[in-house]
Symmetry: C2
Subunit: 124 residues, 2 copies
């Protein structure tokens, strides 16, 4: 599929799709005329990238995480250096911290909303 369709299906501007490619997050074949040609699977990949970006990860880190997300799993052995494994472990821990922070604060919002609505319910 071409960039316009990928853009539409992922809700991501063409500009950003080219940017993600430049950053090594997605790949494209090229048609004879130079147009980018994307695999079907790229749709999911872009969604994953969007989610991680939205969750605060920079493209540099996302790029390192992506090999973990292939399904079925393919181990790229050149990537599996001890440093890379340590980086992944570290990022995994940071993600857990983020999850805990988000969960705590989301739950606090939930309780706040409950209480506000309870008070409104009593016409105060």
């Amino acid at each position: 599929m071409r960039i316009g369709q990928l853009s539409e299906r992922t809700g991501t501007s063409r500009r950003l799709l080219r940017y993600y490619e430049e950053q090594g997050l997605i790949l494209s074949d090229r048609a004879a005329n130079g147009y980018r040609d994307y695999h079907e699977v790229t749709v999911d990949r872009v969604m994953q990238i969007r989610g991680l970006l939205d969750a605060g990860l920079p493209t540099r880190i996302i790029k390192q995480i992506l090999p973990c997300l292939d399904q079925p799993r393919v181990i790229h052995f050149p990537d599996a250096t001890p440093e890379m494994l340590a980086t992944l472990e570290h990022e995994k821990a940071r993600m857990t911290e983020r999850i805990e922070c988000l969960t705590r604060n989301r739950d606090a919002i939930g309780e706040y909303l409950l209480e506000v609505r309870a008070r409104i319910g009593t016409r105060r």
Copy 2:
């Protein structure tokens, strides 16, 4: 406490503390000489802000969330307009999405690491 101590205790540059204040995320009293004077509770507040920023929330949203985090809970009724409640509900949902995205991807990293280490364990 003054800005230097707050900076040290939160691991946040003075520059950023002033920025957060400018964005309405924290408050300070002023001493007679113009120096900022922070409440003890500001330490936790700053940590919360850092966590949320790191999790991808912009200061604009964090500012709206902060009233939910007071302990014990204080309902600021002027803030509790229907629009604000809708905004909070919306942000709560977005936070849940982020949590799910981070959890999925973190778990995928975990499985990848397990598999890589298993293979290394078998000297392959």
